[in-house]
């Protein structure tokens, strides 16, 4: 039966794709941390910025 939680699926797929080890007993903490970090990222991403907003680090040749 497929895992119904997309975040668990995402973790499994990401770990495989990135070549990261993921032991079963690490999963709950990784999941909690990923969930918290994504929530922080969503708080930032929902803030409207103009399309021409530059990221903070600008490369200088």
């Amino acid at each position: 039966m497929a895992n119904p939680d997309p975040l668990d699926d995402f973790i499994a797929a990401s770990a495989r794709t990135l070549g990261l080890p993921m032991k079963t007993h690490w999963l709950p903490a990784v999941r909690t941390n990923l969930d918290v970090t994504l929530k922080h990222a969503a708080l930032v991403a929902e803030f409207e910025l103009p399309d021409d907003a530059e990221p903070a680090p600008i490369f200088t040749a």
Binding site: F10, I11, S14, A15, L18, G19, L20, P21, M22, W26, A29, V30, R31, N33, L34, V36, T37, L38, H40, A41, L43, V44, A45, F47, L49, A53, E54, P55, A56, P57
Partner: protein, 480 residues
């Protein structure tokens, strides 16, 4: 429960140098009242006596320190110029390169790496001024920490109560200075790792402007946010050491090409003409009573009546959190792939999560960072310094997992930096000043505009002169 007996053991019955400031030591050595060798031997004796309890040091560079002290004394004897930090013992967080020892950065993995070939440039600059490196200091693994705990080396302990946290990640730096082992230490601050231990240990700490001090030959964490800076028991010592460490460095890509702008000559100018405001909103939400009491105490002492709102501070903290997790993961990606079992599990699990964050969200955080910087800099048109709590509470118990902020139970480890992260996110200079509340001290941030460390240091110095801010001497460390 730590063994407290070393504190009760009488130390040598001669001049107690344990609570002298770096400036006082340098003056005593320069005037010939005491030799650098005696000063350094005293410091080494204190370290050996107190470290079994405080666990601040992970390496003690005894032979190197004694050789260096002898060189300072030889220079003094031959009337050579021996620098403004003559004979001052200092120590560095163990992410600074120290020639001949591995730069462990609080990790188990880095112990297997070759020893550093050359000192960090900040160590070189302090030693060129006569200071004497006496060791390397405990820290949270790879600096991803606000507690001062370390699964490999054990927790650094707070000299005001060794059952309590030092704060992190520069926990050993806080403990070594507050515990009277050295008058000066260096640490790093990515999200608050100088200001948090300064607050919990009750000492002064300076996080300079991003790009001000070279980070070359130090183990990185988050290149976008990493800063280095000093801890001390007086503002003068912060300014003195900071001035000596300034200067551009092509070996650090982020180090600004700016002239040296000495802060020490400005220190005693007083508060005249400075407009000081208090950060409201986010910076007072959830704070424990002691944090608000300390903020109010400092605000009254400087006559700061205006409250201002730093816009979108909560979002700024969130963006700093995302950049930290993802850049940290990028730094450690190969170690996560190949040596994941050797990490502190709490660090490993956060880094693994950070590796999985989509890059579009990271770019959004960096876009927001520029927007936020512009808005915050506008505030400095109407004020010169902003006061904010350094930590939401005084030192929690070692091992404490959660606390309640604003009625919500939250994990201690990430949330001790609640008030520091939105400030270092845009690289503003900050002096954390200690307020000697009972039973435990707590710090207040004095935040200035970019490149105006002199303003933050001036305010801190004025507070110290009136006694409003002071590094209280822990009862346990008083020599018999």
């Amino acid at each position: 429960m730590p063994n407290l007996r070393p504190f009760l053991r009488p130390e040598p019955a001669r001049l107690d140098t344990s609570w002298l400031t770096a400036s006082e030591i340098a003056a005593a050595v320069a005037s010939g009242k005491i030799s650098a060798t005696v000063i350094v031997d005293d410091a080494l004796a204190r370290i050996n006596g107190r470290n079994p309890v405080l666990n601040a040091f992970t390496a003690i560079t005894t032979e190197r320190a004694r050789a260096r002290a002898r060189a300072v004394d030889a220079a003094a004897a031959s009337k050579q110029n021996f620098g403004p930090l003559a004979g001052v013992p200092f120590a560095v967080k163990n992410l600074f390169d120290v020639a001949g020892i591995a730069t462990v950065a609080g990790s188990k993995i880095n112990r297997t790496y070759p020893s550093a070939k050359r000192d960090s440039p900040l160590i070189e600059k302090l030693e060129a001024a006569g200071a004497v490196l006496v060791g390397a200091l405990n820290m949270g693994e790879y600096a991803y920490d606000f507690t001062g705990e370390n699964v490999h080396d054990g927790a650094s302990r707070n000299p005001h109560d060794p059952t309590r946290m030092t704060g992190g990640s520069s926990g050993g730096s806080g403990s070594a200075v507050a515990g009277g082992m050295v008058p000066l230490a260096l640490g790093s601050d990515t999200n608050g790792s100088i200001r948090v231990p300064s607050s919990l240990c009750g000492i002064f700490g300076l996080k300079p402007t991003y790009g001000r001090l070279s980070r070359a030959r130090s183990f990185p964490f988050v290149a976008s946010l990493d800063h280095l800076g000093p801890f001390a028991r007086s503002t003068r010592d912060l300014a003195l050491s900071y001035d000596l460490m300034q200067g551009t460095d092509p070996d650090d890509a982020a180090c600004a090409d700016r002239p040296i702008e000495p802060a020490l000559p400005e220190l005693a100018r007083g508060l005249g003409g400075l407009r000081i405001a208090v950060a409201g909103g986010y910076f007072q939400q959830g704070a424990f009573p002691e944090a608000l009491a300390a903020l109010d105490h400092i605000a009254k002492a400087v006559g700061a009546h205006n409250e201002i709102e730093i816009p979108e501070a909560r979002r700024a903290r969130a963006a700093a959190y995302v950049i930290t997790a993802t850049e940290g993961a990028a730094l450690h990606l190969d170690r996560l792939r190949n040596r994941a079992d050797e990490f502190d599990p709490a660090v490993r699990d956060r880094l693994l999560a950070g590796a999985m964050i989509p890059s579009a969200l990271v770019v959004k955080a960096q876009n927001f960072r520029r927007w936020y910087r512009t808005r915050v800099l506008e505030l400095f048109k109407s004020c010169d310094a902003i006061l904010a709590p350094a930590t939401p509470c005084s030192a929690p118990k070692i091992g404490q997992q959660t606390f309640t902020l604003g009625g919500v139970e939250l994990p201690v480890r990430p949330n001790l930096g609640l008030y520091t992260q939105p400030i270092s996110f845009i690289g503003l200079p900050v002096v954390a000043v200690p307020v000697p509340l009972q039973p435990l001290p707590i710090g207040v941030q004095i935040i200035a505009a970019p490149w105006r460390e002199d303003v933050a240091l001036r305010v801190a110095y004025a507070l110290e002169q009136t006694g409003a801010a002071a590094a209280a001497r822990p009862a346990l460390t008083v020599s018999a």
